[in-house]
Assembly symmetry: C2
Homo-oligomer: 322 residues x 2
DNA sequence: CTGTCCAATACTTTCTGACTATGGCCGTTT
DNA sequence: AAACGGCCATAGTCAGAAAGTATTGGACAG
């Protein structure tokens, strides 16, 4: 019987008791409410003991559950100590995780990757390296870094991409621009004023695709200004040299606004690229946990029919590899 | 990281260390060798510590593994105590498991069911009830028993069958019978001497199918003697009133032998029948564990192309239910 | 050499576990 | 009252984890 009670279940029971309701606990645990309900029910079935008293405003732990909770906490700390002891004995230090990131990747995503990795592997140091996607991919192939956060498309020998987030692209303009009065911009409005771009050399594939997509709606992307960072991009807009496409929800400088483009939905995908041959064994766990957390909060806010920057469906499934 | 180390893995690590080789431990744990290898490897990857020193004659635990093993044992006993405590608090007694069985079901199977159930749920009493399949199924439908071990086919409203074992049927005869000199009997040899049967009223469906199968090879099953138990069946054979079909490998009385029938492979399936609505929440676990144990040792010893007593494939998948 | 024993790898299959959607219950609000 | 909102439970579906099979490779022992 005891094999049917594992530490994960105990941990979740504790979380439920602490939260006072299953739904709240589920949120904290990045689980759905039914999953957690079922876990508790399984415990009750196996032990044949009621653990929670349910009422309309939540749940309360029964005395039996209290025992399990205190004992469970003890077990959990003992397990941690045990692992600590075993690792200390060998005096092993984790090989640091060398994480590359492009400056055009959402900072929150980068933070999330770091925080999840350190919460999973507290003693594993992260060595961040910022760089251009094209360079990062090369470094990955050479084994100089373990993973990189870049925007798709991204390809390289022996690399695997795990798409994490998808954001809509919107037009960035000065707030006193005449077009800023409109709720939406039509492609025609943009005319030839979409001139401010990210430096194509940073990510040639992404640039080509973007130009391609613009072409589809009749916009010729005249690259007048190329920029190394999102910050520079906004400065250029501010200085009045034209419009730029940026990630919806980006933090904006004073005096700038963004407007969606009517009739199209351009999106940009951020992904973690990992070399299949990496010696970092932490990567699969990191990816799994990231996916778990992003699952529930995913999906773009509904606005327009979606049409991706990346024309082929296959890209979404296997954006890269050769 | 610690969430990636669960008690099951620790338990298996302990088993490996105790066994000295992964293969042996796998057998004891009713697992395949690769599964266990992978589990250990996962642990080593997560902890980034080598746990086993492999050589050609097995494995040896590293110091780090020793720590995990002693600590793990402690954790396991603490968990057991914890569960015990929680259950004791509520003074819950398991509702006993009422298990029916037909006397024509292999006794070893019955023993196995009981031993697994009590090893999973030590404090859950088993109340065995022997009876005829037809009666047992009725009792199941009425909720008077929780599960029954019978031979297929078996059907009933709201019942679900879990086939466990499949045995070949062989002809039982006196050892001084002229046919006993042959290695195999042909259906023609049997002629009309196959006259000793199980009481058809005990299990009408099974009887009908058997007659049907005999008919296919041109044997008319003249039911001259009907018997309530396998024991009685053998007595009848011994007394010389004819042949009987019995489960291969059955224990035989003095003076009796069995011979396979050439050209056909008749088999009999034993299954656990469970009422879907039973209040016994232990049943799913019992079934799962039984399947796990039978998986590795399953499959009939190769002898002849197989042809089942039960004519339709669908029976194997869903032998019953209405 | 060849056979045996053990562990590791590659690939496939099974089944757990998590999700979505929905329904019922109970208070609170309009 | 009726409608709404919060909470838990159930049903049904699906992806991914875990287990299995088959095979390879290495290291003796005969």
């Amino acid at each position: 019987m005891s094999d049917l009670v594992d530490l994960k279940k105990l941990k979740n029971l504790i979380a439920v008791a602490e939260a006072g309701t299953i739904s709240v606990a589920a949120k904290r645990l990045y689980l759905s409410q039914p999953s957690l309900s079922i876990q508790i029910k399984d415990l009750e079935d196996v032990l044949q003991v009621p653990l929670l008293v349910r009422d309309h405003k939540g749940v309360r732990a029964t005395p039996a559950a209290e025992i399990l909770i205190t004992g469970g906490r003890e077990l959990l700390t003992m397990r941690d100590a045990l692992i600590e002891a075993a690792r200390a004995l060998h005096r092993v230090t984790f090989v640091p995780m060398r994480l590359g990131f492009s400056s055009f990747v959402d900072h929150a995503l980068y933070e999330m990757v770091c925080s999840i990795h350190t919460s999973l592997f507290p003693s594993c140091e992260i060595k961040p390296k910022s760089g251009d996607p094209v360079d990062l991919l090369l470094m990955l192939e050479r084994g100089e870094i373990d993973a990189a956060l870049v925007t798709l498309p991204a390809s390289g020998a022996g690399l695997k991409a795990y798409p994490f987030t998808q954001s809509r692209l919107v037009v960035c303009m000065k707030s006193n621009d005449p077009l800023a009065k409109l709720k939406e911009i039509t492609p025609a409005d943009l005319g030839s004023k979409l001139t401010i771009f990210r430096d194509p050399r940073q990510h040639p594939e992404a640039h080509d695709r973007l130009i391609e997509m613009l072409d589809v709606v009749g916009i010729t992307g005249d690259v007048a200004s190329t920029n190394k960072t999102p910050h520079d991009l906004q400065w250029m807009v501010e200085s009045g040299s034209g419009y730029a496409l940026i990630r919806e929800g980006s933090e904006l400088q004073q005096g700038l606004v963004t407007r969606p483009v009517a009739g199209v939905t351009w999106t940009v995908d951020s992904a973690l690229i990992v070399a299949k041959s990496t010696s970092q064994r932490t990567m699969p766990h990191l990816v799994r946990e990231m996916r778990k957390r992003l699952r529930l909060q995913s999906s773009l806010p509904p606005s327009k029919p979606v049409r991706s920057v990346r024309p082929r469906i296959s890209d979404r499934i296997l954006p890269l590899f050769g």
